[in-house]
Subunit: 147 residues, 2 copies
Amino acid sequence: MSAPVSVHDCRLVPLPRRAGDAGCLTVFEPGDAVPFEVRRTFTIADVPAGARRGGHANARTRELIVCLRGAVTVRARDGRAETSHRLDSADVGFYLPAMMWVDLEDFAPDTILLVLADTSWEEARDAYHRDYSRWLRRVLGSGAYAA
Amino acid sequence: MSAPVSVHDCRLVPLPRRAGDAGCLTVFEPGDAVPFEVRRTFTIADVPAGARRGGHANARTRELIVCLRGAVTVRARDGRAETSHRLDSADVGFYLPAMMWVDLEDFAPDTILLVLADTSWEEARDAYHRDYSRWLRRVLGSGAYAA
């Protein structure tokens, strides 16, 4: 279960949008835009000013994080490197591989996030790392950086 | 393929929300809240004042329609009866069975809808009825109201 993890596997994925006279439709379907079968979807809203979310890694779950409204900074770490993106458009999704430590910070007012995940909650819940030091030992000792 | 359709199969589904100090998380997972496996997700946004969406039925697709922000009126018809709901809360989803004629109207400004569907776009696209009269003949002739 110690697959190498790297922030370089994170990426911004353009989302297919169909804009017309009656508004804009954005489709999330397994394929180019969503690189996995979606088992679970969740939304995050009503985040107060200054609050943070995330603060964990999940050994099994891959996610696509989309900012439907507002803005948020997504910060991902693999134990040696980190990447962060300010998401402020529903045109793109942030692909988060499994086992990355993720923090969501600097929420703009009224931000709404949509997250697609490739595990059910039942599969995901036992796979959380919430202790940063233990997670760090795990990923640094995994051979991920042997090369 | 002529399964009976009835607006009485539409229903409002309460969605599990976990509210805390860092905002509110709403989960969409097959089970009580989402009565099907989700094959496709889409969002609708940037709908101008006075615009309508929907105006079709899909013979194969079941949907859960959620209003993440703003408000919209969902109107569903089965050919003899209709039901409409003003969706203005992310606490509930509107379950739309297959073959129902659906209209989305009276969008409040900045409304964002999330729609979960049980078909891929490839499965759904050939199953649209966009001609109301033809759809009506189809559902009224289907034996749905034989009882």
